[in-house]
């Protein structure tokens, strides 16, 4: 049995298709990274997995329980960390955790000791009496995660848990995910940071415009694009002046320009790089910096979509 299984999941809002035929799965005890840019349909997919939205088509299951046919059983096995911090600001961290524990049916001494454990995990034992409203963004996010762990779910879904926080809290959260996973929890980790997906995930599903455009282990995904290398360039002029010329060069698999930065995906940097310089001087454009990067998930995304992951 798969811990998470998503088959041909669809969701439309009116005429707009936010999720189109998404399929992926996670084995019990693994971290599955769901990587995609803004608006890819990650949160919409998660909403269907957590029973907030009814799919327009397809199905998904958590620990073998279909989210459309047996949502209550699916919810019991699932902890959800929403993208936006969803806590009561006028209650303390501990009161919040106790409340959410009760909402999963925990009671009494068992609840209290579990709250202690979770406070330890998220590193807020000292601050448990303070109102969540007075916490920093990073601390709020940690409580936000803690609230999903109380009932020791088999599967935890985290929707961009590190957005907009300080590096220290971010590190803490990433370590938490690894720790929970080592204890046997299956984690679906949603992010648009490819480094996070690379560091944490056993398998990665890349989403774009509602579709899962790639699925596999980190290494398998990198291999998919062969020996391609990423070249980052900055110019002293508009990229448009030279972009078409570069695109025509043999060995350039993809090229994208945003904010004066050009990212090119090439088969063999040794062969292609001189040609890029040639074309630039013909177009009267000076290259002011060059960076060569070994293939990574960013490169994969660029390869698949012709666009950079971060926009």
């Amino acid at each position: 049995m798969k811990a998470i299984e998503v088959t041909n999941l669809k969701k439309s809002f009116g005429a707009f298709q936010a999720v189109r035929d998404a399929s992926f799965m996670a084995d019990s005890g693994e971290v599955l990274g769901l990587l995609g840019p803004n608006g890819a349909g990650k949160s919409t997919t998660i909403s269907m997995l957590s029973g907030l939205l009814m799919p327009t088509g397809g199905d998904a299951s958590i620990m073998g329980h279909s989210v459309t046919k047996d949502p209550e059983a699916a919810k019991k096995s699932l902890g959800v960390v929403p993208q936006d911090v969803a806590l009561y600001p006028d209650l303390s961290a501990r009161e919040n955790l106790v409340f959410w524990g009760k909402m999963y049916g925990l009671r009494g001494a068992g609840l209290s000791s579990r709250v202690d454990e979770v406070l330890e995990i998220i590193g807020l034992t000292d601050r448990q009496k303070d109102h969540v409203g007075r916490f920093s963004g990073g601390m709020k996010r940690r409580v936000n995660i803690g609230a999903a762990l109380l009932h020791k779910p088999d599967v935890v879904i985290m929707d961009e848990p590190t957005v907009g926080i300080d590096p220290q809290s971010r590190r803490h959260i990433l370590d938490n995910v690894k720790e929970l996973n080592q204890q046997g929890m299956t984690v679906l980790y949603t992010t648009h940071y490819m480094e996070e997906a690379a560091e944490l995930s056993h398998h990665i599903a890349i989403m774009d415009k509602g579709r899962v455009i790639a699925y596999g282990t980190h290494d398998a995904l990198i291999k998919m694009i062969g020996e391609q290398t990423r070249i980052d360039l900055t110019l002293n002029a508009e990229a448009e002046k030279v972009l078409d010329a570069w695109r025509a060069i043999e060995g350039v698999a993809g090229i994208d320009a945003t904010d004066g930065k050009v990212t090119a995906l090439v088969d063999d940097s040794n062969r292609v790089l001189p040609r890029l310089f040639d074309a630039a001087s013909k177009a009267n454009v000076r290259i002011t910096s060059v960076g060569i990067q070994e293939p990574n998930l960013e490169t994969v995304f660029l390869h698949l979509t012709g666009r950079a992951l971060r926009d």
Partner: protein, 400 residues
């Protein structure tokens, strides 16, 4: 878990110090204030002179019949005699300072006692109710006076002794006075009852206490409905939906919290009314409990409704205020609907707040029992059900 959700809501409400002010302190202050206002009002009423002012024009006030008539009229509870000369009297009449002018013509006494036709003139607005009353009120004593004169003249004639006239007329008049007092007093009391009856049943707080109670029960919604709006804004409602709580349990939990708050507030105000203000809620404890529970359920379902419709805290306050003013003013929590009358009272009487007032006042003022309270409580519960249905329908439509 429903209970846990309700407890969480209540904890949040209690955390909000302003809410305590609204829920307990303000209603108590308002009750006292309104009670003073009503009491002041009814005291003024008692002191005010409700007798109909009548100008008396009498050029010979010392004549026997004049004196007799004056004494009789002056002792009346219904007429206030103001002696004037003719010009003054007509002036006062035109200005509306007096409701009528009674003119006793010169030589009236002598002529009447001599058996000649003599007439008094009443100048009054025949179409006004005061004019009508004056005529009715004067007709009796004047005809009695004339008949006393007739009787005394007859008696003197029969005995052929003119000296008998004076004792006879006085005797006859005094008989009339004794007899008429009984009937007159009865009439006057009937008039008096209409204007001076005490609709508060002797204690002005019988209106103020339940009135403020109902009004502030609605006002308390600002706090409890805000909890629900916050829950939507902070997306904790959405998170609740990902737990094993079913949607109906979430609705029920919030309803329970709102009911708890309103009911607690009601209990505090009932206890305060009973022991501090002598408003006898406990005359029929089960009846009071029944009305209070029904009131709480109605108000709570209205809170739920506001909570699912409002988008911001400000909107919650706005909706609660509108609800409070609408239901308070129309439902007779500020003044009894009987005092308003007409279409206003008819519409008002249908309001749930009016049913709550009816329920409480059946117990407090009208002294009715449990069976009469059932109707009011039943109507409140129907309203509660309607509001609740609307709230649940809207809750399902909410964007999650």
């Amino acid at each position: 878990m429903i209970f846990d959700l309700a407890l969480k809501d209540l904890l949040q409400m209690v955390r909000d110090k302003r809410s305590l002010l609204f829920i307990v302190a303000m209603p108590i202050i308002f009750t006292l204030f309104m009670g003073f206002a009503y009491r002041g009002g009814s005291q003024n009423d008692a002191e005010a002179d409700h007798r109909i002012p009548l100008a008396l024009v009498d050029p010979q006030p010392d004549s026997r019949l004049s004196k007799m008539l004056f004494t009789r009229l002056d002792s009346s509870d219904s007429i206030r005699i103001v002696p004037m000369n003719e010009d003054e009297a007509m002036n006062a009449f035109r200005k509306g300072e007096v409701a009528g002018v009674l003119v006793i013509p010169a030589g009236f006494s002598e002529q009447a006692e001599a058996g000649k036709a003599a007439q008094l003139n009443l100048i009054a607005e025949a179409s006004s109710s005061e004019g009508q009353s004056l005529y009715q009120l004067l007709r009796v004593p004047i005809s009695q006076l004339m008949s006393a004169v007739e009787v005394a003249r007859l008696s003197a004639d029969v005995q052929s002794n003119p000296d008998e006239y004076i004792p006879s007329v006085e005797l006859a008049w005094s008989k009339w006075n004794e007899n008429s007092k009984i009937s007159l007093v009865r009439v006057e009391q009937a008039v008096a009852k209409g204007s001076e009856s005490d609709w508060t049943g002797g204690n002005p707080y019988n209106q103020a206490s339940p009135g403020i109670l109902v009004q502030f029960a609605i006002f308390g919604l600002t706090t409890s409905a805000q909890i629900l709006v916050q829950e939507r804004k902070t997306r904790t409602l959405q998170r609740l939906m990902t737990t094993v709580m079913r949607p109906w349990e979430i609705v029920a939990g919030h309803l329970l919290a709102m009911f708890g708050l309103v009911f607690l507030q009601t209990v505090i105000l009932v206890v305060f009314g009973q022991f501090a203000l002598g408003v006898d809620y406990l005359r029929e404890p089960l009846g009071t409990l029944l009305v209070s529970v029904a009131l709480g359920l109605w108000v709570a379902s209205m809170g739920l409704l506001i909570g699912v419709f409002a988008r911001t805290d400000d909107q919650v306050i706005l909706y609660s205020m509108v609800a409070m003013f609408l239901f308070s003013a129309l439902g007779g929590t500020w003044f009894p609907l009987e005092a308003a009358g007409g279409a206003f009272a008819a519409i008002g009487r249908a309001m749930p707040s009016a049913w709550a007032m009816t329920g409480y006042q059946d117990i407090l003022i009208r002294g009715l029992g449990l069976d009469s309270v059932w109707l009011a409580a039943g109507c409140l519960l129907l309203y509660a059900l309607g509001f609740f249905g609307l709230a649940v329908w809207r809750f399902k439509e909410l964007e999650v």
